[in-house]
């Protein structure tokens, strides 16, 4: 499916809105949406602006699909005020998503910092459905505080199904399955094998810390995949806002392997 032709919007009706964390809402949108885990969409709100989000529902869901949106800027602060019955203007999906073919038969570590869990969630659904295809799946979640941890119900369920699930928070408020500390702490204790593939999504500042630890553990650069966030203006490889060196995040990403992107990050 070729989506990057132009600015073609489709409207989706909001059926359910749920608060996941302060200022962070989960919108259920009516209808089936065809996307690969890790791809992103552009949501436009008239008068206010456009913003980039990753669909976070099970890609196989035929009745609805979900967007998790945190209000942090001019456009997103208005988008989170939308209510069930309103229609969301969406274009996409864009980008390449997580490299599913490269994950088969491998041990997998997923690292999600804050909202980084959002683009990983569809992948987790898909992996749990085909669990025999993967050797071992571990998930590490990090957040500022336990009220900021997203998808708590899912995490409870996944903690039974995944081989390992660890949640770390910087400020501990009440008890959830999380512990106090930075997301890098559980990584140091990991015992990866030659086959281990790591998928990272989180704030830009978190990524180099994680990479250093993973490389020390002996994971090769080719097996570390990072999903980058940039402020997109077009999403179709024209506006040049989202470049990392010679790559454009909207066209060539948003997921890059570390060996491919390492040289470009310093430019």
């Amino acid at each position: 499916m070729k989506n990057d032709l132009g600015f073609k919007f489709q409207e989706y009706e909001i059926i359910i809105k749920e608060e996941l964390a302060p200022d962070t809402f989960l919108f259920d949108l009516k209808g089936k949406y065809n996307f690969h885990p890790g791809q992103f969409v552009q949501v436009s709100l008239d008068h206010f602006g456009e913003a980039t989000f990753a669909p976070c529902s099970d890609p196989d869901n035929k009745d609805f699909w979900q967007l998790c949106i945190r209000g942090s800027g001019a456009a997103t602060n208005q988008i989170i005020k939308m209510l069930p019955g309103d229609k969301m203007k969406v274009r996409g999906p864009y980008g390449n998503g997580w490299p599913l073919a490269k994950l088969l038969e491998k041990e997998i570590i997923l690292i999600a910092g804050g909202l980084g869990l959002v683009p990983l969630r569809p992948l987790i659904f898909e992996m749990l459905r085909n669990k025999t295809e993967f050797k071992k799946i571990s998930l590490v979640v990090g957040a500022k505080s336990d009220s900021q941890i997203l998808f708590k119900d899912d995490l409870m369920e996944w903690s039974k199904k995944l081989n390992k699930l660890e949640a770390y928070v910087e400020h501990k408020e009440r008890t959830f399955l999380c512990e106090k500390g930075m997301i890098t702490q559980p990584l140091k204790k990991m015992k990866p094998s030659k086959n281990t593939v790591v998928l990272i999504c989180g704030p830009e500042v978190m990524i180099p810390y994680c990479n250093n630890i993973l490389l020390d553990l002996g994971i090769i650069e080719k097996n570390i995949f990072i999903s980058f966030e940039r402020r997109m203006e077009c999403g179709i490889g024209v506006c040049q806002h989202c470049n990392i060196g010679k790559y454009l995040v909207c066209q060539d990403g948003p997921v890059f392997s570390l060996d491919k992107i390492k040289e470009e990050l310093i430019k």
Binding site: D46, H47, S72, P203, R230, G237, K246
Partner: protein, 322 residues
């Protein structure tokens, strides 16, 4: 190879050709507006001016106007761009190539290109980038004494001349060569040198120290097409999503969440401009986004000269090798 018409015509005949073009297409040309030459829409042949200095703002405003509604691109309209200099024709082809994967711009077959002999000034350096070769045009005109030599190189160019009943004269005119014969930058080494930022960090810092970061170069460059989106409200209480020209020298150009700027210093943004033109565009579309038109040199209030900068950069790196 098919023979296309190459002949000498009078100025009256040129006006006749232009009026036929204007009747069929939206026609844009160099024109006089308040004493200045600008590139804009013409309604009659007498408005078009030829063989003058290049316009400050190139054709890019025609293809992607400031404030273009993102949802209302008209890519089916037939347009004619008249009086483009050779470097601008190269730029036009590169511009279309950058947008070829989208359906935002008119396709090449819907654009009639009528080039005109250029008037080089002290800022031009097309020979350094190899764009002094002739770019693919439909028609090209050149001064020939009091008359005009016209060259066709496509069927659509020929068709227009045939409608106007212009025939081949016995003696064919010859296209004048453009630019001086100086050695060209080696494209591969230019790309490699710019790609290696760490090695030339001091050099880039030196340039950035003199650069105001005003973005004048990006405004006049025919191949700077960065855009951002803005919403414009209208009286009907609706809003339209507009594309506005943006400049990569703007401070918030590479900002992400929580005001985290990926290019906080002017040197980062300046380097990004060169990197886009000579590395990223080469990687993505196999072309340089510079035709040596010299507009950015003329526009720069700090007198930075891209030609001298590239030359100095190459010399510096060649010295190191030896």
């Amino acid at each position: 190879m098919e023979a296309f018409i190459e002949t000498i015509i009078t100025k009256f005949q040129l006006d006749h050709i232009l009026s036929n073009v204007i009747a069929e297409r939206e026609t844009y040309s160099n024109l006089l507006d308040d004493g200045k030459v600008i590139f804009g829409k013409i309604l009659k042949p007498s408005q078009a001016v030829f063989f003058k200095k290049k316009t400050v703002i190139p054709f890019k405003n025609i293809l992607l106007p400031e404030g273009q509604d993102a949802e209302k691109f008209d890519n089916d309209k037939k347009i004619a761009l008249v009086g483009l200099s050779n470097c601008d024709i190269w730029a036009l082809h590169s511009f279309l190539k950058e947008f070829a994967h989208t359906d935002l711009l008119p396709k090449r077959e819907n654009i009639l290109i009528i080039g005109a002999q250029c008037k080089p000034d002290r800022y031009c350096f097309c020979e350094k980038l190899g764009t002094n070769k002739f770019a693919p045009f439909d028609l090209f005109i050149q001064e020939e004494g009091n008359n005009i030599a016209i060259f066709s190189s496509t069927k659509s160019g020929d068709a227009i001349l045939k409608i106007t009943e212009i025939k081949q004269t016995k003696k064919k005119p010859i296209l004048n060569a453009i630019g001086e014969k100086t050695s060209k930058f080696d494209p591969l080494s230019l790309e490699n040198i710019i790609n290696n930022r760490a090695k030339n960090e001091e050099f880039w810092q030196g340039i950035a120290d003199n650069c105001f970061g005003c973005g004048a170069c990006t405004a006049v460059c025919p191949l700077c097409f960065c855009t951002r989106q803005e919403f414009e409200n209208n009286l009907a209480c609706k809003s339209s999503q507009c594309l506005k020209w943006d400049s990569c020298f703007a401070k918030r150009f590479s900002e992400v969440q929580n005001h985290y700027d990926l290019r906080p210093e002017n040197v980062d943004r300046l380097y990004n401009w060169y990197h886009h033109k000579f590395v990223r565009a080469k990687f993505k579309h196999d072309q340089f986004l510079c035709t040596g038109c010299g507009r950015c040199i003329e526009a720069c209030p700090a007198n930075l000269n891209i030609k001298n900068i590239l030359e100095a950069l190459i010399n510096k790196n060649e010295d190191k090798k030896e």
